[in-house]
C-alpha cells in the first residue's frame, strides 16, 4: 500500500488533493455527486467581512486551454459563512477545511480571520492577497512585499491557526513576496492565483467580461504555476500549496516534485465535476508507476 498522506505545518491530511477556493462553492453541489470525504480537504469560497455581490456579468470567458473569471469575490459575508455555511458543510464533510479570506484593508482581513478563528472546522487560513478582479484591495496587497508583509503580520496576531498566504503570479519576482510573507510570520504559502488576462468579442468589439479583465486559470497556466512553485520552494523554508491548471494525478505528482506539499485543483472542477475524486482514486496507481511509496517524500524532489 502506498501512503498518500501529507502534512501542512503539522496538519496531516489523507492526500494532497484540495479543491481550490471559488471552484467548489461550499461543497454541496459536489456532495450530490460523490462522497467528498475522499478529498484531502477543500477550500471554501473566498470570504470577506461583509456580503459581496461581486462584479456585473458576464463574469466568465472561454480561452484556449483555460478560462477567464471576474466573479469579484461574491460571497455571503463572514457572519453567514460562520453561522450557516460551515455548519451546513459539516453535515457533508467530516474533515477540516481551508478557509480562504479576502479583504480590502488590513483591518478587514483581521476582522474576518478573527471572526472565524474559533471554528474547529478550519484547518488553515488561506489569505488571498492576490484576487485580480476587485479594485482597491485584493491583488494590491499581493504585488508589494511591504503590503504583503503587513497583511501577514496583522492576521498572524489575531489567530493561533495556521496562516497561509495566497500569492499572485502578476508580479516581476514572486520569490520576493514569498520571502516577505515568510519573514512576517506566515506558516506557509499558496500559489498561484490567476493571471490577469482579457478577451474581446469580435462582433461587439468590446471586452467579453463586464469587468474588462479577468483571471486566467486552467491547463494554460500550469507550466507557469509549476515554475513559480519551483522558484518559491528554493527561496523559502515554509510549506507550499501548489495550484494552477492541475487536472490529473500526474499533474499533482509533478507539482509536488516542484516543491508543493499539497495541491489545489481549480478550473478543472468546473468542466469535470468528478475530477478531484478521480485524481484521488488515480494517485496510488500513478505513484506505483513512478516508484513512489510515500508521497510526502517526493516534495521538492526535482531540486
Amino acid at each position: 500500500m502506498v501512503d498518500t498522506s501529507v502534512t501542512l505545518s503539522g496538519w496531516r491530511i489523507d492526500n494532497p488533493v484540495i479543491p481550490a477556493s471559488g471552484t467548489f462553492g461550499f461543497g454541496y453541489e459536489f456532495a450530490e455527486l460523490y462522497d467528498i470525504n475522499c478529498l484531502g480537504s477543500l477550500a471554501i469560497k473566498g470570504t470577506t467581512a461583509e456580503p459581496r455581490f461581486g462584479n456585473p456579468t458576464p463574469r466568465i470567458a472561454d480561452c484556449p486551454s483555460g478560462m477567464l473569471n471576474a466573479v469579484g469575490l461574491q460571497n455571503p459575508g463572514v457572519r453567514e459563512v460562520r453561522e450557516r455555511e460551515l455548519p451546513r458543510l459539516a453535515a457533508y464533510f467530516r474533515k477540516k477545511v481551508v478557509a480562504n479570506v479576502s479583504g480590502f484593508s488590513v483591518g478587514e482581513y483581521e476582522k474576518t480571520v478573527e471572526a472565524l478563528s474559533g471554528e474547529e472546522q478550519i484547518g488553515l487560513f488561506e489569505i488571498n492577497i492576490s484576487c485580480p478582479n476587485v479594485h482597491g484591495g485584493g491583488m494590491a496587497f499581493g504585488t508589494d512585499p511591504a503590503a504583503a508583509a503587513a497583511v501577514t503580520e496583522a492576521v498572524r496576531r489575531v489567530t493561533d491557526k495556521l496562516v497561509y498566504i495566497k500569492l499572485s503570479p502578476n508580479v516581476t519576482d514572486i520569490t520576493e513576496i514569498a520571502r516577505a510573507c515568510e519573514a512576517a510570520g506566515a506558516d506557509g504559502l499558496s500559489l498561484i492565483n490567476t493571471l490577469l488576462g482579457m478577451r474581446i468579442d469580435l462582433r461587439t468589439r468590446r471586452p467579453v467580461l463586464a469587468n474588462r479583465t479577468g483571471g486566467l486559470s486552467g491547463p494554460a497556466v500550469y507550466p507557469i504555476a509549476l515554475r513559480m512553485v519551483y522558484d518559491v520552494y528554493a527561496a523559502v523554508k515554509i510549506p507550499i500549496i501548489g495550484m494552477g491548471g492541475v487536472s490529473s494525478a500526474r499533474d499533482v505528482i509533478e507539482m509536488m516534485l516542484a516543491g508543493a506539499t499539497a495541491v489545489e485543483v481549480g478550473a478543472a472542477n468546473l468542466v469535470d465535476p468528478y475530477v478531484c475524486r478521480d485524481i484521488v482514486e488515480a494517485l496510488p496507481t500513478e505513484m506505483e508507476r513512478y516508484g513512489i511509496r510515500k508521497l510526502s517524500e517526493i516534495i521538492g524532489g526535482a531540486h
Binding site: G22, T23, F24, G25, E29, F30, E32, L33, K45, F53, G54, T57, P58, R59, I60, A61, D62, C63, P64, S65, G66, M67, N69, V71, Q74, V208, G218, P219, A267, N269, L270, V271, P273, Y274
Partner: protein
C-alpha cells in the same frame, strides 16, 4: 445533475444559422421542460450550455444557433459523434400555475425550450397560445411543429416578411392569458413582463462557467436575494425578477 454520454443521430440546419441536433442517450433527468445540458466539445475548455428542446424516450433534441466557436464546431458534428453531457441542469418551468390558456413567448433561439413545455401543457389538456418572434421570414423555425402539438401559433417578424410585423409584444396586444412562459433575449423578456398583467415564468441566459452552481459565474439579483442562473434558474418567477 448527471454526466452521460450521448450519440449524435441527426444534425441538420433548420435555417441558415440554426441547427437541430438529435442525440441518443438517457434523457431521464431532462424530462422537465426548461432545463439544460452542458456539452463538452473537443478542443474547447469550458462546456457549452444548451437548453433542451425535447426529450422523449432515448431521444434528446437540441436546437442551437451558430454564434461562436462552440456552436460552429457543433454544426460540423456528424451522426455517430459521441458527446459528454452534464444533464438535468437548471430548475425548469412548472406547469401547475399555467391556468387553462397560457401564452408561450419565444424570441429567436429562445424558442426551443418552449417546445417541450408546450407538449407537456397540451398533455395536461391546456390550450396554449405560442408567440414566436424572429427577425425575418427566412429565420423562422418550428412554427409547424408547435401547430402539430395543437397550439395556436402566432409568428412575428421584425421586418414583417412573415406573420405580424414587429416584435412579440405586437402579438400580445389586446389579448389576455392565464399565464406567461417566456424565453428569449433580455429586452424581449422585459417588454413581455411590462406588457402583461398575469403571472409568469421567464427563462434567462448568461455566460456560465460550470453550469451547476459551483463557480458563481452567472449570478443575478432577484427580490429574494442573489440567484445563480444555472442552478436557481434559468427560470425565474415574474414576482422575483429585478431588471
Amino acid at each position: 445533475m448527471e454526466q452521460k454520454i450521448f450519440t449524435v443521430t441527426e444534425n441538420l440546419p433548420l435555417t441558415a444559422a440554426v441547427y437541430r441536433m438529435r442525440l441518443r442517450g438517457d434523457t431521464t433527468d431532462v424530462q422537465c421542460p426548461g432545463r439544460f445540458v452542458n456539452l463538452r466539445i473537443d478542443g474547447l475548455y469550458l462546456r457549452r450550455p444548451l437548453s433542451v428542446c425535447d426529450a422523449e424516450g432515448d431521444c434528446l433534441t437540441l436546437i442551437y444557433k451558430t454564434v461562436g466557436e462552440g456552436t460552429e464546431r457543433m454544426s460540423r458534428m456528424a451522426p455517430g459523434t459521441r458527446l459528454d453531457l452534464l444533464t438535468g441542469l437548471g430548475n425548469g418551468y412548472t406547469t401547475e400555475k399555467s391556468g387553462p390558456t397560457p401564452c408561450l413567448v419565444g424570441g429567436g433561439v429562445g424558442v426551443p425550450p418552449l417546445y417541450l413545455l408546450c407538449r407537456r401543457l397540451r398533455a395536461e389538456g391546456k390550450r396554449p397560445t405560442v408567440v414566436l418572434g424572429f427577425g425575418r421570414a427566412d429565420e423562422v423555425f418550428y412554427a409547424q411543429e408547435f401547430r402539430a402539438l395543437g397550439a395556436e401559433v402566432v409568428v412575428t417578424t421584425a421586418d414583417g416578411s412573415c406573420g405580424i410585423r414587429g416584435f412579440v409584444t405586437a402579438a400580445l396586444e389586446g389579448r389576455t392569458f392565464s399565464y406567461i412562459y417566456a424565453c428569449g433575449p433580455e429586452p424581449m423578456l422585459r417588454a413581455v413582463y411590462e406588457q402583461t398583467a398575469c403571472g409568469g415564468q421567464y427563462s434567462f441566459e448568461e455566460r456560465m462557467g460550470c453550469g451547476f452552481g459551483a463557480c458563481m459565474g452567472c449570478t443575478c439579483r432577484t427580490k429574494y436575494g442573489n440567484k445563480r442562473i444555472c442552478r436557481d434558474g434559468p427560470v425565474l418567477e415574474k414576482e422575483e425578477i429585478v431588471w
